[in-house]
């Protein structure tokens, strides 16, 4: 089959066995990427598996568009049972690893078992070897990548930092020095297998069914991406994202207690000044015109230059209210090097800072409990302690929910997280009913894997566009209004489908909507030679979504778990554009009912027999 490499690796670290399995049997129903990964996890994971045991399964899977000419096709999906949520843990990463893996001849890699000592997997085309990695033990991501690239700079690396080795729930898997499969503690799963890294280099390439048509379609897709309203501004988002979040009234500060932190503008200015004095070069992922990344280097600060992500940089400031951007930059480099999920890590530190400000954490009950908001040094020290599981860091390393359960009733009340305990993503949730629903029903917690770019998010800054999208998707402009509960279940289900398709085809969810499903479908057809329609891809997305649900149900999830932290129901916003907004329990429950029904699940959230039959999942 064109577009695919038609086989994936299955590596058992218990006995160093390396085999390949044909991809063919999974394609029609599950497309690739996230879809096939979920199917494999469902098949291979023993029920109620201990997430850090050798039996847990870790899957890296590319899609049929990964590594092709289709723009943004650098993606790879990583799925396992999450140690943080004990549910499906999925994360998707860009960069250059996915394409390289396909050029080596593999659609994906399944890792099971546990090596007796630290190892890495070295792949060059047909040569796949499990190699000893003791020399990389405790090493940061940057050193690990450099060490594994010593002989060939074009090698692509997936690796964990010390945080993954220490089984920190907030650890992710780094792809070279920048992109991360960050969320859900997948780094800890990799660490539990004594697998430090996967190095891949490929020179086999990919067959394409209709090369000339692919050139035309890719050209059109690039044009659409370049016509996105935000396209021109993208390279400046490293400091402008603050004001963009403001213009949509999505910002919050600290541990979700305030949306109008007085000193924020000073923080934004510091960020702008920092970025403007830095050595700065726009960068991007494989095949993508968007430039979400930029190489940033400031001499004498942080000891390294690195390509930085706009969202996570912003996240560190808004959560911790640290205004000194030199410290923020150091914190960013540390997280990237230690192997931490920056969203989760900044959330848990903001949580600890909140508890400190309320006297729940004090210097006396934790020797390192001195965590005032805004203190950059305290932030940096907390990051190091989380990655090493030292002192208070050992408690915070498990994430907000588990930390809150260990610190008493008052602490529990302050905790904010999505389903399963995954920290929320960088935006206030209470006014955005679609995002709130998404956090509760999604496969693995936070909405960043379900409803990226939901039209309600940009309603305030680009009302016309938001309304047009809402009208096209669910038939009414009103669906775009953030505070409306009506229409949100349908909107969320449709965005989820699109997001699943992006993750399964192997492309990025950011340009997915602006390019439009029609063109992605065409790209799928010309790459693979298989006829497809937006309709049957959408059915595949529904199938994948329902299989994710079946996995979670098998692991003990029930309707009561489909919720979001209590504070968001009982603590109205006290300031800002959405003053007074809070989630209404009754309407929230109604949204969940409606969502289940749209998915063909019963009132308990279980897929019905008819649904299973319709989707071929009996």
């Amino acid at each position: 089959m064109n577009g695919y490499t038609n086989k994936f690796l299955i590596i058992n670290l218990n006995n160093n066995s390396i085999q390949t399995i044909p991809t063919q049997g999974y394609i029609e129903q599950f497309i690739g990427g996230r879809g096939i990964a979920v199917k494999l996890i469902y098949e291979l994971t023993p029920k109620n598996v201990n997430t850090l045991s050798p039996e847990n399964v870790l899957v890296f899977m590319t899609g049929p568009l990964t590594g092709t000419l289709a723009p943004s096709s650098g993606r790879i999906d990583v799925v396992s049972k999450s140690p943080e949520t004990k549910l499906l843990g999925g994360a998707n990463a860009g960069g250059f690893f996915g394409p390289e893996l396909k050029y080596a001849g593999y659609d994906g890699i399944i890792v099971v078992g546990k090596a007796s000592s630290l190892v890495y997997i070295d792949i060059f085309n047909d040569e796949v070897e499990i190699k000893e990695a003791q020399h990389l033990s405790g090493k940061g991501v940057f050193d690990t990548v450099n060490a594994l690239r010593k002989d060939d700079k074009d090698t692509q690396i997936a690796c964990i930092g010390p945080a993954g080795e220490k089984l920190v729930n907030l650890s992710g898997i780094a792809f070279s020095m920048r992109n991360y499969a960050a969320r859900g503690g997948l780094g800890a799963v990799m660490g539990s297998k004594n697998l430090k890294a996967i190095a891949v280099r490929g020179t086999r390439g990919l067959s394409i069914a209709m090369p000339d048509l692919l050139k035309d379609i890719a050209e059109k897709m690039r044009e659409r991406i370049k016509n996105m309203p935000s396209y021109q501004e993208y390279p400046e988002w490293h400091y402008k994202l603050f004001s963009i979040l403001e213009s949509d009234s999505k910002s919050f500060f600290g541990n979700y207690e305030d949306t109008a932190w007085k000193e924020r503008f000073e923080a934004y200015e510091n960020a702008e000044r920092f970025v403007k004095r830095a050595e700065f070069r726009s960068e991007t992922c494989f095949g993508c015109p968007l430039r979400c990344w930029a190489y940033i280097n400031v001499k004498d600060i942080g000891g390294a230059g690195i390509a930085a992500c706009q969202g996570t940089l912003t996240s560190l400031v808004n959560f911790t209210k640290a205004k000194d951007f030199d410290k923020i930059w150091k914190a960013y480099l540390l997280c990237q090097d230690l192997g931490l999920d920056i969203s989760g890590t900044s959330a848990v530190i903001a949580y600890a800072m909140d508890l400190y400000s309320k006297g729940i954490i004090t210097n006396s009950n934790a020797d390192d409990g001195n965590l005032p908001y805004g203190n950059g040094d305290a932030l940096i020290s907390a990051i190091k302690k989380i990655a090493r599981r030292e002192g208070l860091g050992a408690v915070l390393a498990d994430g907000v929910k588990k930390a809150s359960e260990k610190m008493g009733k008052d602490a529990e009340k302050r905790a904010v997280y999505a389903k399963g305990g995954l920290e929320l993503w960088l935006m206030e949730i209470r006014p955005f009913k679609g995002a709130a629903l998404s956090c509760a029903v999604t496969d693995s917690g936070s909405h960043n894997r379900a409803t990226y770019g939901l039209c309600e998010f940009y309603y305030r800054s680009m009302r016309k566009q938001a309304e047009t999208v809402a009208k096209n998707l669910v038939g009414t402009e009103e669906a775009a209004i953030p505070t409306k509960y009506e229409y949100k279940p349908k909107l969320v289900a449709m965005y989820e489908n699109l997001h699943i398709l992006a993750d399964s085809l192997g492309v990025c969810s950011i340009p997915f909507m602006p390019v439009g499903l029609e063109l992605w479908t065409n790209a799928y057809t010309v790459c693979t030679g298989m006829e497809a329609t937006p309709m049957n891809l959408t059915t595949a997305a529904e199938r994948i979504r329902t299989l994710e649900r079946l996995f979670n149900i098998r692991e003990g999830l029930s309707r009561k778990d489909d919720t979001i932290a209590e504070r968001l129901f009982n603590e109205p916003l006290k300031d800002g554009a959405w003053k007074g907004e809070v989630l209404d329990k009754e309407k929230f429950v109604e949204m969940i009912d409606a969502y289940y029904s749209l998915r063909g699940w019963d009132r308990e959230g279980k897929p019905t027999q008819e649904t299973l039959k319709r989707l071929g999942l009996e």
């Binding site: 590594g67 092709t68 000419l69 723009p71 250059f96 050029y103 940057f142 990548v145 450099n146 700079k153 074009d154 070279s176 020095m177 920048r178 490929g202 020179t203 086999r204 390439g205 990919l206 067959s207 394409i208 090369p211 692919l214 050139k215 890719a218 050209e219 690039r222 370049k226 050595e279 070069r281 726009s282 960068e283 991007t284 992922c285 494989f286 095949g287 993508c288 015109p289 430039r291 190489y295 280097n297 390294a304 230059g305 690195i306 390509a307």
Partner: protein
């Protein structure tokens, strides 16, 4: 020739994929005539390809005279003569020629017979196909712009 503006390149590698797709009908950076050389830790993305030298060492090195110089397209490989000895790869100071990984033919940029696909698809216009005689004049104009900006700053 294809002129590279290093400051504009964002490292997306679209030039590599379109090059291999155009020449080979498949996607493989190892079969591309252009590659972006990356030094991730330094933020470097440098597109590298045959520079169509005026006095090409590949031509003088080739024992079979299989590299000819076309008036408008510069060095081109005559595959009827090429024996795949790889002397051109060894001689080229910048890696302009390479070996196809499967069919073992020598490959180098042929400027797509005057319609270079990489230039067309580069989203940042980091690659430009222009008459080399116009390059220095263009660069002098850009230089004046930079100078003007500098003088402006000095005034303030």
């Amino acid at each position: 020739m294809i002129v590279i503006d290093y400051d504009k390149c964002i490292g997306c590698r679209t030039c590599e994929t379109i090059c291999s797709l155009s020449h080979e009908g498949r996607i493989n950076p190892a079969e591309a005539r252009i590659n972006i050389v990356k030094y991730e830790e330094m933020g470097t993305n440098m597109p590298m390809l045959c520079q169509k030298c005026e006095d090409p060492v590949c031509v003088t090195t080739c024992p079979m005279r299989a590299i000819i110089i076309d008036d408008s397209l510069g060095t081109q490989i005559d595959y009827s003569r090429c024996i795949g000895c790889k002397m051109c790869i060894m001689a080229c100071p910048i890696g302009g020629a390479s070996l196809h990984p499967t069919n073992k033919k020598i490959i180098m940029c042929d400027l797509c017979q005057g319609d270079p696909q990489c230039v067309k698809s580069c989203p940042e216009q980091a690659l430009e196909y222009i008459d080399i005689s116009k390059l220095s004049l263009k660069k002098r104009r850009e230089g004046v712009k930079k100078l003007a900006r500098f003088l402006e700053e000095v005034k303030i």
